[in-house]
Amino acid sequence: MNEIADFVNSGIRLTTPILFAALASMISARAGVLNLAIESKVLAGAFVGILVAGATGNNLLGVASAAAAGALIGLLLAAAHRLGVDLVVLAIGLNILVLQLTVYLMRSYLGGVGTYSPGIDRIPPVVVPVLSDLPVVDQVLARLNWIVYLGGALVVLVALYFRTRSGRHLLAVGEAPVAAASAGLDVGRTQLVALVAAGAIAGVGGAFLSVGDLGLFTRNMSGDRGWIGITAALLALNRPAFVAPAAAVFGFASAASIRLQQFDVPPNLTQFIPQGAAFIALVVVGLRAKSRRDVSRLWRRSSRIPLRWPGRRPSTPVPTPVGTVHDAPPAPPDHSDR
């Protein structure tokens, strides 16, 4: 019984950062932006969070600045998106930049070669009034701080938000930016808000790693959790209802891989399961999208060539309304060759 409670506890703690990253990825994707910079947002959040928490001794301030750091990267992405910068290239650059810059700064100013440990108190676990006194449940809830509960609350909040007026606008912008713009929505501003919010959420996920769970910062602390979060959001088909279970599949799979090592079960074997599930989910979505072409646009938007199937989608030129950032107006003829 203890074993199981312990397993559930570590599973929840491993799920939390993935859940934050997955939420960030989902919000960006639903607003119509393929956001591959989640990894850098998580890492920046982890770094800035521990830096501020160590300097001020205030964990809450640390988490808040982690959110601000993530939001700043989100703002950068939104600005670049508006200018028409290739977000994929930019995101790859940002991921490498944050990874290398955090290590550079840590080695230069914080005196650590691979680890920075300011000796802060970790965020204390939440004591739930009745449940924390029960025999098994207390073990499950041990070491779970408020960021874990925040993650759960955010899932509900995002799900509810998608049902509000402004949430519907966000979904509309993501699915058909041109139509949304002609209906009077400000596409650029909606996407900016979505990217900033996604950045802040991913940053808090990073702060959970450094300030919340371990109380230290290590090189590449995010350890691909941003990418896993993106995959988890895909496994959830970018739906709020499935995000938590999808993130849990990844989190519990890595918890299981740690447990199973003592029985000499290959640790990465369990991690295949969520990745394989994500692969199958993507293929299934592809199969579905083939019959429902509208959905596939959402997936294809980022890719350079829209491989259209012959005989579909008449290509009548759509007049570009003011405020869209997607379709730039046709360039005037270039006479520089003469």
């Binding site: 393929l34 290239v89 290398q100 990418w227 394989g276 997936w299």
Partner: protein, 377 residues
């Protein structure tokens, strides 16, 4: 050669160059903030990355490191130019390297033939892994970017599993495969840096990819599928075929990258072989303007800066070696940012010119011209 043309060339070279310079300036500020001279730092990097002495040749080390990066970069070039935005080079590199290691240990052949067979195995496995996203994209419209993220993760897990269990050589803390036979090793010119045939192969591959994309019909079809899909389709080219070829060729090249790393430098595969070389190659391809020759040059540059930052900066000046990769990442960010700026500037200029011509009463301003603005930014 008129003034407009000169101005355009200046713009198209000048703006990316400015982006690179800005990245260097930011790097210099970071170094200066530590109290070290940026000029010293730069000269140390160049010294430690690109110089060649009598006893130890730094340049050889850089070129040896550059070989797998160049292969991965070429794989990325072939994919990107065809419009297959695959970031799967990492997984193809990992599995290609593993295939070379398995073939190098499992098959015994004469010295001349053995590396060829091993490299063929690496290329075949890389191509197989590379054609998966292409197939999914062509027939199911699955986003290749997203699926390659998953495929990279699966390849990394698969490699670590195979190296730790079925292919493990001996009980140790870190899993590794058996070393390949002597006959399977790629010859080296310089034993201390392992600079050898691997780099020659990378250069040959560079030229071949340039020739394939620029001078053959198949390569032309691929480029047109990437740059002007409507034109490609109207002229009867098969965009599906192009994408599949891009997946196969790009995957084979990245797989060869893993192959030369194993046959030329490591001689076995250790756990964690998938260490970001494929991603480095992808960024080198982007920095090189997704051209074969550019990718090769940037690959060497990239390796030199990495070697220079590790051997020079950190040991001589005490500046953390991460500054090298930081500056390279800054270059990617700024280069990405300047591309739309260039398009905007060119658009404004040509609009002004048309306005001016119209104001002057000329009718030739409206005449159509067969030039596509900003096709390759």
């Amino acid at each position: 050669m008129n003034r407009e043309r000169v101005e355009r060339i200046l713009r198209r070279v000048g703006l990316p160059l400015t982006a690179v310079l800005v990245a260097l300036v930011v790097g210099a500020v970071l170094v200066a903030a530590l109290g070290r001279s940026p000029v010293d730092a730069a000269s140390t990097v160049i010294q430690a990355g690109f110089s060649c002495g009598a006893d130890y040749c730094n340049l050889g080390g850089s070129l040896a490191l550059a070989s797998p990066i160049i292969f991965c970069a070429l794989g990325a070039v072939v994919s990107l130019r065809t419009g297959l935005f695959s970031i799967g080079q990492e997984g193809q590199y990992a599995l290609g390297g593993l295939a070379a290691a398995v073939a190098g240990y499992g098959i015994v052949l004469p010295a001349g033939l053995d590396p060829v067979v091993c490299l063929a195995a690496a290329a075949a496995v890389g191509a197989l892994w590379g054609v998966v996203p292409a197939l999914l994209k062509a027939f199911l419209a699955v986003n290749e970017l997203i699926i390659t993220i998953v495929l990279n993760a699966i390849a990394g897990l698969l490699l670590d599993f195979l190296v730790n269990y079925p292919l493990r050589a001996e009980a140790s803390t870190v899993g590794y495969t058996h070393a390949i036979h002597e006959s399977a090793r790629l010859p080296v010119f310089d034993v201390s840096t392992k600079f050898g045939v691997a780099f020659v192969l990378a250069v040959v591959a560079c030229v071949l990819v340039w020739f394939y994309l620029g001078r053959t019909t198949a390569g032309y079809e691929q480029r047109m599928s990437g740059e002007a899909i409507a034109f490609a389709r109207y002229s009867g080219m098969s965009s599906v075929g192009s994408v599949l070829r891009a997946g196969l060729v790009g995957g084979a090249l990245a797989g060869l990258g893993g192959g030369v790393q194993v046959l030329g430098t490591n001689y076995r595969v250790i756990e964690g072989f998938s260490d970001g070389t494929g991603l480095t190659g992808l960024t080198a391809a982007i920095l090189g303007g997704t051209t074969a020759l550019g990718a090769g040059l940037v690959g060497v540059f990239y390796a030199g800066i990495t070697v220079g930052a590790v051997n020079g900066l950190q040991i001589v000046l005490g500046v953390p070696r991460e500054i090298g990769s930081t500056v390279l990442a800054l270059m990617i960010v700024f280069l990405a940012a300047q591309a739309p700026l260039l398009t905007r500037i060119e658009r404004t200029i040509s609009r002004r010119r048309v306005d001016r011509d119209l104001a002057r009463g000329g009718t030739d301003a409206i005449a159509p011209v067969a030039h596509k603005p900003g096709a390759r930014s």
